[in-house]
Symmetry: C2
């Protein structure tokens, strides 16, 4: 387990979750597209039916148009043609208000998601790299401490030896002093870096990552709201044509009622 592995896991889960979100939007959009195609095909069939039964020019059927029942049939066919038109309106509005909108939005969403995870990975790599530098500082300080101790022991051994020249003792003393200075410098360096790292780690945990998570959460909330709006629109598009469909049906009823059997 490397440093920050839990955070990495969280990132992985978020990536998976937001990818699922994108797939859901994509799947919903495909669903609406297919519904729109069904409406187009239905409208086409109804239009063809209406056309097929219209009296042909200069035919006996057209001649029969003087009978009220034949005229009522033609009215029914015309109303049915308008009825088909309403299903074309459903199809067009589903495509314009949902499918086209979601296609644009999906590009935006994918790009925003990519940017957030790019920023997240970058911040993670940055702090991990800082942590490695800190570890290196720590190891250097420990090594320098050991070197200083070893030089001190060497100096003390030389100093206690009666067969050693004063010049050699002085050399060992200066060496030990130099090593102590290096260890002290390493300690300062390590201490300074530790302070810097603590600050960086603090920023990472309490500012950078929470901000990023906040942005991803907002992106997700916006996505869910957007899907909700589309689902409302899906029903609205259909509901909007109901009064006009009702008028077509009233037109058919009126035509049927205008039939006078006595004439």
């Amino acid at each position: 387990m490397s440093w920050g592995s839990e955070l990495w896991d969280q990132f992985d889960n978020l990536e998976k979750h937001t990818q699922g979100g994108i797939e859901f939007v994509d799947r919903y959009s495909k669903f609406v597209k297919e519904r729109s195609e069904i409406e187009t095909s239905y409208a086409k069939q109804i239009r063809n039916l209406s056309k097929k039964y219209q009296p042909k020019k200069n035919s006996r059927e057209e001649e029969e148009n003087r009978y009220s029942s034949c005229r009522a049939f033609v009215s029914t066919l015309n109303e049915l043609n308008d009825y088909a038109g309403q299903h074309e309106v459903i199809s067009e509005n589903l495509t314009a208000n949902i499918v086209a909108e979601l296609a644009r939005y999906l590009q935006e969403l994918k790009s925003e998601r990519k940017s957030h995870f790019h920023d997240g990975r970058k911040a993670q790599q940055q702090i991990e790299s800082s942590w490695k530098t800190l570890e290196a500082c720590k190891r250097k300080f420990e090594r320098d401490c050991k070197e200083a101790e070893r030089a001190q022991q060497h100096f003390e051994k030389m100093d206690a030896d009666i067969n050693v020249t004063k010049a050699d003792v002085e050399k060992a003393r200066q060496q030990a002093q130099g090593r102590h200075q290096m260890a002290s410098d390493s300690k300062n360096e390590y201490s300074a870096y530790l302070q810097k790292f603590n600050q960086e780690q603090n920023d990472h945990y309490y500012t950078v990552i929470p901000n990023l998570f906040q942005k991803i959460q907002e992106m997700e909330e916006k996505r869910i709201e957007r899907v909700g709006d589309c689902m409302k629109s899906f029903a609205d598009v259909d509901r909007q044509v109901l009064p006009i469909v009702g008028k077509c049906l009233d037109g058919m009823t009126k035509a049927a009622e205008s039939i006078d059997a006595k004439t």
Copy 2:
């Protein structure tokens, strides 16, 4: 131009007209059948769409069902399935209330029409046959008159001829008397048949044929009313599902509104 040719023409026109009426009912019935088939096909496509996008068992999609947007999508799919069901109802009712009814009615109408024209033709042939008999009576009477006149002239010629025996004169007188009797009988026969024919002709023109035309007119009025009822039913069948379609759409809207982006 034979006797009653104008009436024959009227019968021909009525036959053509009522045949046109039957063809109109047949054509209308086929139209409703095709509309019913379009509704079935549309409902099937919508059902398949709803099924296709239902989350698969034990899939990630099903797992995602804990999200409110996924649940709302499933609700939309379920409402859409009910929506499809309403178009199946349209299809079934069009078939049951119109197509099946008109199929039965067309058989009835064809049989009634056949029976009326059979009666009409029979009455026409009857009166035509009576008229031929009357003509034959008339010709016989005219022939008998000529014969009686010739016998009378023969008797008068014999009676005036001094070289003819009384016996021959008596024979010619009896012959002439016999011919006069025959002519008188023919006259009575013709006169009686004429009276009978006049009565028959009266019945034919003022009772039999008007009654038949009245029945055909009633048959036609009933047919037109029947078509009118079907045309009303055609719109009603569609109108009846509108409130339920509206409820399906309300269900979709409610599902969309239940989406909570915050959870």
